[in-house]
Each structure stands twice: as C-alpha cells, then as structure tokens.
C-alpha cells in the first residue's frame, strides 16, 4: 500500500505542475491574451499597471511563472473589474455552487444506480430498451434548452418564480414557506443538471452488472443454493459498484462545466456564473483562477477516488 500511495503521490505532483504550466501558458502566451493588450494604446494605463502587477511583466519569463503561481495560492491576484482579491470573490460564491452540485450528485446517485440495476435484471426486455432509449435522450438533450422549456412551463402553469437563490418577495411568508421556497429554487436547477449524469451512470451501472453476473463466483454463489435476490443484490451489486468509485473524480469537471450554463440560466449566484461574467468582462485573473482551481479539485478528486479504489479492491494495489 505504501508503494502504491507513493507512486500515486508522485503522479499527482507531476500533474499538478503540468496543470499550472498549461494554465499559465493559456493566459500569458495565447494570441489575444491580456498581455497583448498592454501593446494596445487604447487600453488605459491603470489596467496596464494592474496587468504588470499581476504578471510581473518586467521579470524574465520563468520568474513570471513562479511569481504568478505564488500569487495564485497566496491570494495576491486581483480582479481587473473591481480590484478585489480573486480568492475572496470565489470564496463568497463557492458554497452556492457546492450546494447545487451536491444536491445534483445526490439526485444522480440515488436515481441512477437503482435504474441501472433494474435494467440489468431484465436485459433487452421492453422496459430495459425503454430505459436505454431514455438514457440516450437524456445524454442528447441540450441542458439549457430543457431548462428554458421547464422555466416556460412552470411560469405559465404555476406562475411561480424559479430564478435565483430564492424569490424576491418574501415578506409575509412564514419560515417553513421560506424554506420551501429555497428548496424549490435549488431542486429545479439541480434536477436538470443531474439529467446527463443519471443517463450516463445508469447505463454504466447496467453494463457493469451485466459484466459481473457472468463471473464464476456468481455461478458458485447460485449453485450453493443462495436465493436469486441475495446473489443479485449482495454478491453482484457490490462488485459491480466498485468501478463507480473512480467516476467520482470525473464528476467534478462535468459539474463545473454544467454549472456555467445552468447557473447562468437560473441566475444562481455561484462560481459558474462568476466564471461566465468574468469571461464576458475579460476579467482574466478570475477566469484563470477558477480554471486552475477546478483542475486542481478534479485532480484531488481523482486521487481520492484512486485511493478509495485501492482500499476497496486489493487487486488494484499490486498492478
């Protein structure tokens, strides 16, 4: 286990450095990057000054990278738009995004796994085929389009607001009503964000189950007289769910990508909307910090998933 841990840590470190270099290259070396702006006479001296402060343009190129890295992690990068520290702006909003994503993830796992198991029990039956088709439909639907149709429908049918963290007018509402209002405003975007995940994960669970039930140890369990139910839900399901641990890490980039669109549609004050507003305002320090942080979070998520997998399945450790 120690060797396994050491090797993974080394890989993690390497990837981390790679992420930071790539982020830095995109922001400083790409054509049209903010550095090019400093050559533009129309750009105000104030912005140029900020740019020089942010990127240490007077230093040699390798020093620029290390100084940028230091600033990134010590919170010394400032927004172009309002001059506030980037990390502070992110900290304000990250909980909203985490809450939204947590709820979406819970919805995904609590629906997708039972659906996948249900389909795998009766492969190629009518219900399974319906599930397959439904999953493809879910994978193919543009999220923002569905969101608009849902907003159109709820506003027309119920006349109830759906945008933002909560309704604007909350005077005269009792506490439970306010709580319900918050839950309603949370559940709608979270469910739409979860659709892709449900479709993908339910298919994954299904094929994983179909793979496992053909294994010898399942035949052994059956032949020693255990009931179908026990074999299926205990022996097979546990093994089929093992690889799902590794999916945890990959959920993060998908959810952050999804947050950008969904938070913009639902006016949800989170990281995704902040990122989009920063892109619109060409507020590069904010954009790059969010990009780098989400890559690092993904990396850590993958690392934890790897470790968990190593703990859950001893075969992995000795590869």
């Amino acid at each position: 286990m120690a060797r396994f841990l050491f090797r993974r840590l080394l890989q993690l470190l390497f990837t981390l450095i790679g992420i930071s270099i790539l982020s830095w290259i995109i922001i400083t070396q790409a054509p049209g990057s903010p550095i090019a702006l400093t050559m533009d006479p129309k750009v105000s001296p104030k912005i140029i000054e900020q740019m020089e402060k942010n990127y240490d343009l007077d230093k040699p190129i390798y020093q620029q990278y290390f100084l940028w890295l230091k600033k990134l992690f010590t919170g010394k990068l400032y927004s172009f738009k309002d001059g506030r520290p980037v990390l502070e702006k992110i900290a304000e909003r990250i909980w909203n995004t985490l809450l939204l994503n947590l709820v979406a993830t819970l919805i995904i796992f609590s629906l997708a796994i039972p659906l996948g198991v249900f389909s795998a029990r009766r492969p190629y039956s009518f219900l399974d085929n319906l599930g397959t088709f439904g999953a493809y439909l879910g994978l193919s639907i543009p999220g923002f389009w569905l969101a608009y149709l849902v907003i159109l429908a709820t506003v027309k049918l119920f006349g109830y607001p759906v945008l933002g963290l909560r309704s604007f007018v909350i005077e005269g509402l009792s506490t439970p009503e306010i709580v319900l209002d918050r839950i309603w405003h949370l559940l709608l975007p979270a469910s739409i964000m979860a659709i892709h995940g449900i479709a993908g994960l339910s298919r994954y669970t299904r094929s994983s189950m179909l793979e496992v039930v053909r294994q010898d140890y399942i035949r052994t369990a059956k032949s020693k007289g255990l009931s179908e139910e026990v074999v299926y839900y205990k022996h097979a399901l546990r093994n089929a769910l093992l690889p799902i641990i590794t999916l945890f890490g990959f959920l993060i980039p998908g959810l952050i990508g999804g947050s950008i669109i969904m938070e913009s549609v639902f006016a949800w004050p989170g990281i995704g909307r902040l990122a989009y507003q920063a892109v619109l305002a060409r507020d590069y320090p904010v954009v790059m910090t969010i990009l780098t942080i989400s890559a690092v979070l993904t990396l850590i998520g993958n690392f934890i998933a790897d470790l968990l997998y190593g703990v859950a399945d001893p075969r992995i450790r000795y590869q």
């Binding site: 049209g32 493809y136 999220g143 389009w145 980039p253």
Partner: protein, 287 residues
C-alpha cells in the same frame, strides 16, 4: 488487408449493426440531415438572411413552415442552412481531435517507456480541466469565429481517443504480425500506420461518432453564452439563443432548433453505441 477481406468485414459488421434497430434509425436520420444540409439551397423556400420586418414573429403556417423570427426571416430556411454549420462544426472538430488522438495514442503505445509516461501524464493533465469552461475561455481569448470554435473543440477533446488507441497499440505491438513486419526491416512509421493502426481503428470509429454528438452540443452551449458561431450566420445554437428573448411570445423560435439539436445528437449517440456493440467481438451475439 486486401480488398476482399475488407468487404467481407464490412458485411460481417453490417450483419450485427442492422440488428440494432435504434442505431439503424439513428443512421437513417443522420443520412437525411446530411442530404438536407447538402441540398439546403434547393430545399429552402426563402433566402435565410432576407429580413422583412412586416413578417416578424409569425407563428408556423403553410407559408412559413416553422414561423418567422424577430427580423421576419424564415425559420425553416435558416434551420436548413444551420444544419450545414452545426454538422461542419461537429465533423471538423472531431477530425482534428481524432488526428491528434491517434498520433498521441499511437506514439505512446508503440514506443512505451518514458515517451508513454510523458504523453499519458499530458492526457491526465488535459482531463483535469473542465473542458467546456476551457473551450469557453480560449474561444473568448481568440474570438468566436467558426474556425476558432472548430479548432479549439478539436484541441481539447482528443484525450479519449488517445487512451483507446494507446491501449490497442500496447496489445497489438506484441502480436506476431508486428514482429514479422519488424523482421522484414520495415521502419517504425510504416509499422505504426500501415500494420498496427488499421487494426486499432474500431474504438476510434466509436468515439468519433459519439464525439460529433458532443461537439454539436458544445457549439450550442457556446452559442447560448454568446460565444458560438456568430449571427447572422445561422447555426441551430444561435437561432435558439436569439429566440430565447421571445420565448413567451414565439415558442417556435426556441422549440424547433432545440428539437433539431436533440434529434441530431441523439442519432449520433445511437449510431455510436450501435457501432460499439457490433465492432466489439465480446459484445456480439448477446442480443
């Protein structure tokens, strides 16, 4: 592989593929969309760019099958031309990503050792970035032209292909026919591209088909955020996005382009899965 071997392979593949009715349905729809995109100038009843404010926001009728938009342009004609743009974004982007993916995967898998480690770490690094946000950022930096969008989607989505191709190469390079090719003194380039690669293409076809679907969705998402193919050029994404301002008065501006995207993406996904089932010998005959 000689010519006859190739045709019998295709026949063999088709035998399995056609059993999957959903995939065949998807393929039919894709062919129809291709024909429609190719013949758009003949099929379109109106010039897609012709504005007529007296006709603005008219609901679907026999004269304008899918209604008109806020500038009085015929939505049906715009959608026909939009099919061209959405499909080209999908195909060119995937062409680029497949090219890079095959190159990286082949080199990593064939040479192994430190080349492999280095390239696979690069794949890991790229996989860590939230792809959609990365694409949005770079498109915003470079400017949202259709060319930039295709190239950037291609440059950020090759990692899956690279991994598949590498895995195939790792096992194929140990096989006897590769040893034989080496013994004949063929150079690496010829062994990689003429001998190993043709045998490693099956998973590439599958990911390519699925990636076309993803690329079309990404373009629509970019359009929605204002960084897709720019108007007045019609893409399904930007027709939909322009229409959302009028969502309460003109539902057809939102519903039809969305349905077109959904149907196309769905078809590519179904065909991709059909390909996977019929190209993977382990999955054959399960039905």
């Amino acid at each position: 592989m000689n010519e006859r071997g190739m045709t019998s392979q295709i026949k063999f593949f088709w035998k399995y593929f056609k059993r999957n009715r959903l995939a065949v349905g998807g393929l039919t729809i894709i062919l129809i969309i291709f024909i429609v995109a190719g013949t758009a100038p003949f099929l379109a009843p109106y010039d897609p760019g012709k504005t007529d404010v007296s006709l603005k926001l008219k609901p679907p009728s026999l004269k304008h099958y899918l209604g008109t938009d806020q500038l009085g342009r015929d939505v049906f004609s715009r959608m026909l031309y939009g099919a061209r743009i959405s499909l080209s974004v999908g195909f060119v982007a995937v062409g680029i990503s497949i090219f890079i993916g095959i190159l990286v995967g082949a080199i990593a898998g064939y040479y192994g050792r430190w080349v492999d480690s280095l390239l696979m770490r690069l794949v890991d690094i790229m996989f860590c970035f939230p792809t959609f946000f990365l694409i949005l950022t770079v498109v915003a930096l470079l400017g949202p032209s259709i060319f930039n969008i295709m190239v950037i989607i291609g440059l950020t989505s090759w990692m899956g292909t690279a991994r598949f191709v590498r895995a195939e190469f790792l096992s194929l390079k140990e096989r006897d026919f590769v040893q034989a090719a080496r013994a004949l003194g063929l150079n690496d380039r010829r062994i990689i591209f003429r001998h190993i690669l043709p045998n490693a293409l099956a998973p590439v076809f599958v990911t390519a088909t699925l990636d076309v679907a993803t690329a079309i969705l990404v373009e629509a998402g970019l359009s929605f955020l204002g960084f897709g193919v720019q108007p007045p050029a019609p893409s399904w994404g930007n027709i939909l996005t322009e229409g959302r301002t009028y969502i309460f008065d003109a539902w057809w501006l939102t519903v039809f382009p969305g349905l077109a995207i959904l149907l196309t993406v769905l078809s590519f996904n179904l065909v991709g899965e059909g390909l996977r089932d019929s190209l993977d010998p382990r999955l054959r005959g399960r039905r």
